[in-house]
Symmetry: C2
Subunit: 346 residues, 2 copies
Amino acid sequence: MTPTNRTIVLASRPHGAPTPDNFRMEERPVPIPGAGELLLQLCYLSLDPYMRGRMNDAPSYTPPFELDAPLTGGAVSRVIESRNEGFAVGDLVLGHLGWQEYALSDGAGLTKLDAGMEHPSYALGALGMPGFTAWHGLLKVGVPRAADTVVVAGASGAVGSIVGQIASIKGARVVGVAGGPDKCRRVVGELGFDACVDHRDPGFAAALLAACPDGIDVYFENVGGAVFDAVLPLLNVGARVPVCGLIAHYNDASYSGGGATDKGPDRLPLVMTTILKRRICVEGFIISDHQAEHGDFLRDLGGWIAAGRVRVLEDVVDGLENAPEAFIGLLEGRNNGKLVIRATHA
Amino acid sequence: MTPTNRTIVLASRPHGAPTPDNFRMEERPVPIPGAGELLLQLCYLSLDPYMRGRMNDAPSYTPPFELDAPLTGGAVSRVIESRNEGFAVGDLVLGHLGWQEYALSDGAGLTKLDAGMEHPSYALGALGMPGFTAWHGLLKVGVPRAADTVVVAGASGAVGSIVGQIASIKGARVVGVAGGPDKCRRVVGELGFDACVDHRDPGFAAALLAACPDGIDVYFENVGGAVFDAVLPLLNVGARVPVCGLIAHYNDASYSGGGATDKGPDRLPLVMTTILKRRICVEGFIISDHQAEHGDFLRDLGGWIAAGRVRVLEDVVDGLENAPEAFIGLLEGRNNGKLVIRATHA
């Protein structure tokens, strides 16, 4: 049987939530490396909420995906052929690759991983972009002080789960927000948050108030929407709001450049008034701007994971063919922890 | 003729824009100082937009004015009787006093001014709270770099007029936003802004775009409303938005704690999305938090005014009896520069 290179391409751009027909699986030939090139076999593919933005044909901090071309993402791969003296067969590498089982590379942009590392997929999560995002956003933008109350949206997700654990290490009281009682139980029981509130519960706002008797000093914004509305009245004077993501809005027209089409009431005057009266700082950040801090991040988080002070929640889905459905579920909050696809050959 | 102490009290709380019947003039006896007290005669009274917030019975960064009691504000007064050895008759003092022609004080909270200063009213404006607000908000929150484009709302007002001139000194390209062609002409002609755009002009957004060919790096927010809507799409990656005031909203129910009652569309998702994608920092501040910087401010701004590098725009209205009408006009943008009341005896 000739091996085929199963590849998932963007078949059409979603309007609102993505659906399976926005994706198409193609069976392509396995490519043959030319001089200086490597053939990579996919081990783990990262699925991340920011990818939804790239499915729109709108300017953002990353360019749009092209129609009929493979979607791309962070991936851990194994070198299975090498015509590049910088890499040997068997090397484990991290790079930004297509949603496909085999890929060519000239080595540019690849980072070699320890070939014997116990959890190669961590390079896509806790020790990768989401972990780095959590570390920078909390410590450099949120800047929690000991005894602060830190509220973390998306608390069981790839970023939020790390944010809360770092905040605990720094001495803060940590309150998670997650979707559903099961996730909330894991956030408290497995990740050690002080409390976790279910944003799907009709009593969410009251429960958040009860969980934050001293108000909120840092709100790590990952979701937007109704969670932000409940957080706003609880923000203390001098509160910091790192804006890392807005998953509740990724399917909205306003996110893809469609303007303020969301129906009213207009919440902006209330938000700006609160920012003014309580001297709040709301600050967006994109982790790719902060590569200079990457070594510090790896030292910190690698140490905490090794010491058992940070636990990693992973949601591993087998088979590249399941990536579209898993990605659709990610935007609906169906994942538990960092979502990765494990390829058949991993 | 026995001198009377004309006093303006808060007769009722406004709903929306204040009207003359929210104020009442009373003729009270001139008080007699007791042991340790001073009798002060009003010279200049400061009228500032933040006072609108104090007319509401709602928590804010300053407590509400009380009904049937004198409104209060920054004032420059002359000591005309002293039973306090710290002050002599003839001393010129700055303090937070009532809207009244005579006041008692035990000296607490008063700052002596140079009794021979050429422009005592500057202590309420360029060298007072509004100037300090401008200096701190621009330099400590906005942090302009040379060649940045700085857009200043309320450009002919007490704060905005100083913000823009400091930004020019720091090497920025400075674009004002003001209400009406006359104000815009003064902002460019007298204050030296590089451009000024009239927010009342139907072509405002296009004119702002034309005046900011390299986008906006710092937007000094004084007004809110439609000006912010035009600024938002022009904000550059890494832009800073110090939120100093929201005069367009001071008469809104949402400002006085009434919640998000403004009609849609809801602009918040678009704003948060922009903050995220362009890594923007929106930060509220209140100048009373930053007293430690006051000496640096006075040294900087005093030097620039003395050297002719900062010009002071003042709108002086004679007679305390005209304070209510002048204050109503301030919220409508009818003033030109820092609005002060000059008392009959000044």
